[in-house]
């Protein structure tokens, strides 16, 4: 079997005396959907932040697609093909839906000064292409949203903002996408819709690998191939949802000792 797409080994991250990640080993294979679960403060988001280069790891290594990216900047991680969404939605609210998606398309846009300022015709052609592509992607999530590509992101409902955020993460055709609690602040129905959308996108982009942090166990059960459970920065269990859910230690972490 091929080596895994993402390999974290002995990942440790400390904030002063607090050990947010404690020697975490974590692997994701190409094409897999992995659920990352654990109680609040167990280090899930920190793991994302370390992988995407926002925090540096104190110990351990991160390898992506065979290359060591432990010390890489967030920019380099993005160029390597990992994108993410944020737990508390991070959008440029005054900008339009299209603009927000294009921020995620950074590596495929031509940023040459002469191209942008002088070759306006060529620029318009590139703009038209990206615009069609963004519409197409949005239409998978919500056809109605695809017609409102130029409204400010601030005017969207929470679920549509999430959708735009996920489109922003997908538009550059990454190999791995990290979703940090996509259902936060949404109703049951909305969560279900969003998961359907994500799964349908995955059938359209073969080989897309997803790591998803989620508290909604229904979502995890339905969508993931495998789960990893963190508690106090340590990995306490790994396996299919059924295995994880029936594990005594996991139940204790979530519900307290019976």
């Amino acid at each position: 079997m091929n080596a895994a797409l993402l390999i974290c080994q002995g990942l440790t991250c400390r904030f002063g005396g607090l050990v947010a990640l404690d020697r975490v080993d974590f692997e994701v294979n190409e094409g897999e959907i992995v659920g990352l679960i654990g109680p609040n403060g167990s280090g899930k988001t920190t793991l994302f932040n370390v992988v995407t280069g926002i925090y540096g790891a104190d110990e351990g290594s991160v390898r992506f697609a065979g290359a060591d990216v432990s010390a890489a900047t967030p920019q380099a991680i993005y160029h390597a093909g990992i994108t993410r969404t944020f737990q508390r939605s991070r959008m440029c609210l005054p900008l339009s839906v299209f603009d927000n998606i294009m921020v995620g398309n950074h590596k495929r846009l031509n940023h040459g000064l002469a191209f942008n300022l002088l070759r306006r015709r060529a620029f318009a052609a590139e703009l038209g292409r990206h615009c069609d592509e963004a519409r197409e992607l949005l239409a998978v999530f919500n056809p109605e949203l695809a017609t409102r590509i130029d409204v400010p992101a601030a005017g969207l409902a929470m679920i549509d903002r999430r959708r735009v955020e996920i489109c922003r993460a997908l538009i550059s055709r990454p190999r791995l996408i990290l979703l940090d609690e996509p259902s936060a602040g949404m109703t049951h129905d909305e969560t279900r819709h969003l998961m359907d959308d994500i799964l349908s996108v995955r059938t359209r982009i073969p080989g897309l690998t997803i790591v998803i942090i989620e508290h909604e166990m229904g979502v995890i059960e339905r969508s993931t191939d495998r789960c990893v459970v963190l508690n106090y920065g340590r990995k306490i269990k790994e396996g299919s949802f059924a295995e994880v859910a029936s594990d005594r230690q996991v139940q204790e972490a979530y519900l307290g000792v019976a």
Binding site: V103, H106, L117
Partner: protein
């Protein structure tokens, strides 16, 4: 297709208003003109005229641009013999160029710069030094002034990148003060007395000579007015295209959210440095032209107060809106000259005005509109048929 008539009518009204504003002398007349303008704006907003005009301008940008430039030229020709009015207009145009530079820095990339006057001064002094100590053609002072401002600005890049908010502001304030002190102690640059800037000469034409065509004799500032207008048009087109490009998008994104931008590959330093450098270049270039216009420059022309005036132009006009900057610069330059009473209190007036604007209209008098990539790209009323004009303009298929 939206009719161009409202836009053209608006350009005509603005031209007539501008001419009467420049022509009136008595303070009472100036006051009534201001009141009329305020009333028209309030009523126009109430009856939806402003939106109509905006839509028309958006859909007919080229015609409106042409009308605006013609309006300015008509006003200039109207007053061609009035030295003082022509000088005022020239000054306003050059300050607009500098304020457009600040717009790139502050409005797009979010890099604060409270040393605008210092960069203007670098351009002025470059013009002075080049014409005094070298035999280079004096027209080269314009690009050289810009380059010097960009180059000297680069010493500020590191502190500006490492600090944020108030601290970045303090760094630039300190730079502005240092610059003035440096000028005062430097004898080569004339010390506190200042330095003379020789007139601009282009193809043997001395800009200080009055233009004479038959019966028509224009003020000796008229050539500078044309030059300033040319610089303004170039800078305006430059800034607008920059905004409507992927570069503008990147600058907006890092201003709004640095963490998300970094996670999507945007190199924060690269875009901030580019914005800072381009902005300083515009200020320096405007400064070089201003130096030639003034003929004599001294450190006192470039105080912290003057930097604040530039910032207040950007705040009053609407952060990130090039048209807003143009309108605000015109008012900031012309109003104190018309209201001699407020001349002494003008800083108080600006300060009060800026506070009022920040309190009641924080986005400025002419708030920046949504980003668009092509004129009339966003047409919210058209619904789904929007695909069509875009596809046409984009030429994608």
């Amino acid at each position: 297709m939206t009719s161009p008539l409202p836009a053209l009518a608006w350009a005509t009204i603005a031209t007539l208003y501008g001419i009467s504003f420049l022509a009136v002398e008595s303070e009472r007349a100036v006051g009534s003109l201001l009141v009329i303008a305020a009333a028209v704006v309030v009523l126009g907003t109430r009856f939806g005229l402003v939106d109509k005009i905006r839509a028309s301008i958006g859909a007919n940008e080229r015609s409106f641009d042409a009308a605006a430039v013609s309006g300015v030229l008509i006003a200039a020709i109207w007053f061609h013999e009035e030295h003082f009015i022509i000088l005022m207009m020239t000054t306003a145009f050059l300050l607009m160029v500098a304020a457009l530079g600040l717009t790139i820095q502050f409005g797009y990339a979010g890099v604060v710069n409270f040393a605008g006057a210092a960069f203007l001064g670098i351009g002025c002094y470059t013009a002075g030094v080049v014409t005094k100590y070298t035999t280079l053609p004096s027209v080269l002072t314009l690009p050289l002034g810009g380059l010097m401002a960009a180059l000297i600005g680069s010493i500020l890049i590191l502190p500006v990148l490492r600090t944020r908010g108030h601290y970045a502001a303090l760094v630039t304030i300190a730079f502005g003060i240092l610059f003035k002190v440096f000028l005062e102690v430097n004898d080569t640059l004339g010390g506190p007395q200042g330095i003379q800037v020789k007139p601009l000469v282009l193809f043997g034409w001395n800009f200080n000579n009055p233009i004479r065509i038959g019966e028509f004799t224009a003020s000796f500032y008229f050539s500078y007015l044309l030059l300033a207008l040319l610089l303004l048009l170039l800078s305006f087109a430059f800034v607008r295209r920059l905004e409507r490009s992927w570069i503008g998008l990147s600058m907006d994104a890092i201003r709004l959210d640095e963490v998300a931008s970094a996670c999507y590959g945007l190199d924060l330093a690269r875009w901030k440095v580019l914005a800072f450098t381009l902005g300083n270049f515009l200020a320096g270039m405007a400064g070089a032209a201003y130096g030639h216009v003034l003929g004599f420059i001294a450190p006192n022309n470039f105080t912290f107060g003057d930097s604040l005036i530039l910032v207040s132009i950007v705040l009053l006009g609407g952060i990130g809106n090039a048209w807003g900057v143009a309108v605000a610069a015109a008012f900031v330059v012309i109003l104190p000259e018309k209201f001699q009473v407020i001349q002494e209190y003008r800083f108080l007036l600006y300060a009060g005005l800026v506070i009022l604007v920040l309190l009641f209209r924080p986005e400025g008098l002419l708030p920046r509109r949504m980003r668009e990539y092509m004129p009339g790209w966003r047409q919210p009323d058209l619904g789904p048929t929007r695909d069509q004009p875009l596809g046409h303009k984009g030429g994608a298929r």
